[in-house]
């Protein structure tokens, strides 16, 4: 078994200083990606274990934003009242991840930092217009999740920086859905995923966000499909038209999990499923449903 240097800092400043001092160090959060990846390596890099950093834990609502500590687990996201109110689409993504074991340990920050094109947090966070709070030895900065990943596994994160929190703007009236397809329901990485969020007034779409996961090197937002929805009711014809646009926009590859034509076709199918769910009448007695009651008319 491998032995490597383990650091267990107590403050963000200490953690960043350690990362700066150890150029080959890796951050260890829940470990559900890191440990799998290190498993077969003979030599392990130093690990900076971050569970003792209080600022990375917890969820709060502050000045019109929902702040999710980077160490929020999928299970916490799935169950919290705050995420149910303000981040419906992220809750749906959380429900799809791995298994209970993985959801109990895997964190939101770890999923984002991983920058996998198939990572389930990214499509959901981008339709939420979420931002990341990044802190290094010198400064703290905010970066939109949409600007964070540059290529599979590549991000704008500097080596001494940590993702401290994920910030989601609180917006009334929006409703979202996340739909994904894997080899099987549990313990499978997404072949294709679709996240969508719409704002409607009297059943008419005022604004929307549509993203596709696992069909391009990074998550793809599809403004052309959003334009199709604008000013329309979510009728079968409108959903079909938007589906055709996302199929054309996808840039999928053939790999071990799926092939190009199937992935492309499934983008449209999953978008239609997601939109059909949003077109259903909402339940006004459900306190977790922040949507405009006028949605019922659709």
């Amino acid at each position: 078994m491998n032995t490597c240097r383990i650091e267990t800092p107590r403050t963000c400043a200490e953690a960043s200083a350690l990362l700066q001092a150890l150029p080959d160090a890796r951050v260890l959060a829940g470990g559900t990606d890191v440990v799998v990846r290190l498993k077969d390596q003979l030599i392990w890099p130093p690990l900076v274990e971050i569970s003792r950093l209080a600022e990375l834990h917890g969820m709060t609502e502050v000045d019109g934003w929902l702040r999710l500590g980077a160490l929020s687990t999928w299970t916490e996201i799935e169950r919290a009242a705050l995420t149910a109110r303000h981040a419906d689409v992220l809750v749906e993504a959380a429900r799809e991840v791995g298994s209970p074991q993985i959801r109990n340990r895997g964190t939101l920050g770890g999923n984002v930092a991983n920058a996998s094109p198939a990572g389930d947090s990214l499509p959901a966070l981008i339709v939420l217009d979420a931002e990341l709070e990044l802190r290094g030895t010198q400064s703290t900065r905010r970066v939109a999740v949409a600007q964070f990943c540059c290529a599979p596994g590549k991000t704008v994160l500097a080596h001494d920086e940590l993702i401290v929190a994920i910030w989601v703007p609180v917006r009334a009236g929006w409703r979202g859905a996340f739909v994904r397809l894997g080899q099987r329901a549990a313990l499978a990485i997404s072949k294709v995923s679709v996240a969508v969020r719409v704002l409607r007034a009297d059943g008419i779409v005022q604004d929307s966000r549509i993203t596709l996961g696992a069909v391009a090197p990074t998550v793809l937002r599809v403004p052309e499909a959003e334009a199709v929805l604008r000013g329309q009711r979510l009728s079968a014809a409108v959903m079909q038209a938007a589906a055709e646009v996302v199929c054309a926009a996808a840039r999928p590859i053939t790999d071990i999990r799926s092939n190009e034509p199937y992935r492309r076709a499934m983008c449209g199918e999953l978008l239609q499923r997601a939109l059909a769910r949003l077109a259903e009448p909402t339940n006004p007695s459900d306190p977790s449903d922040p949507s405009d009651p006028s949605d019922k008319i659709t």
Partner: protein, 154 residues
């Protein structure tokens, strides 16, 4: 590094590499071999333990991450020679064949019932989705969980 944690109700302090997997710590240093290694990468659930009351894969958990926490393994479920109700239900339903998946399966069922005392069949399947069984076909496992829920003494 010095790792302090609670193991099946008893406080433990061990000097061990912080990068050692909890799976190896339990099996090799604590002599608790009920926790199994199947895939070693989070996919089969044979290594399932309870960490602070929630299921976790011991194959993905490093010793430094257990420090200060509470672990329950399959050995910790029985009390004074008496099987926990969920264990007895596995026996009564004949839900065990080779047995390799069973420690993890029982702990996952136990944690599920602690959170949802009356799960639907879909909730049972979702609660056990991280545990693979090559033998039983799952039906009797689900029946054992249902039986425990019905008896209301999870």
């Amino acid at each position: 590094m010095m790792i302090r944690f609670t193991l099946n109700g008893t406080a433990v302090a061990l000097e061990t590499p912080g990068s050692k997997r909890v799976l190896d710590l339990l099996r090799d240093e604590c002599g608790l071999t009920g926790t199994k290694e199947g895939c070693g990468k989070g996919e089969c659930g044979a290594c399932t333990i309870l960490l602070d009351g929630r299921v976790a894969n011991a194959c993905l958990l490093l010793a430094c991450q257990a420090d200060g926490h509470e672990i329950v393994t399959i050995e910790g479920l029985e009390h004074a020679g008496q099987l926990a109700p969920i264990q007895q239900a596995f026996v009564d339903e004949g839900a065990v064949q080779c047995g390799f998946c069973i420690p993890g399966m029982v702990l996952a069922a136990h944690a599920l019932l602690a959170g949802q005392p009356q799960p639907t069949d879909d909730e049972i399947k979702r609660g056990l989705a991280g545990n693979l069984c090559r033998c039983t076909g799952y039906r009797k496992i689900i029946a054992a969980v249902r039986r425990t829920a019905q008896a209301g003494n999870a």
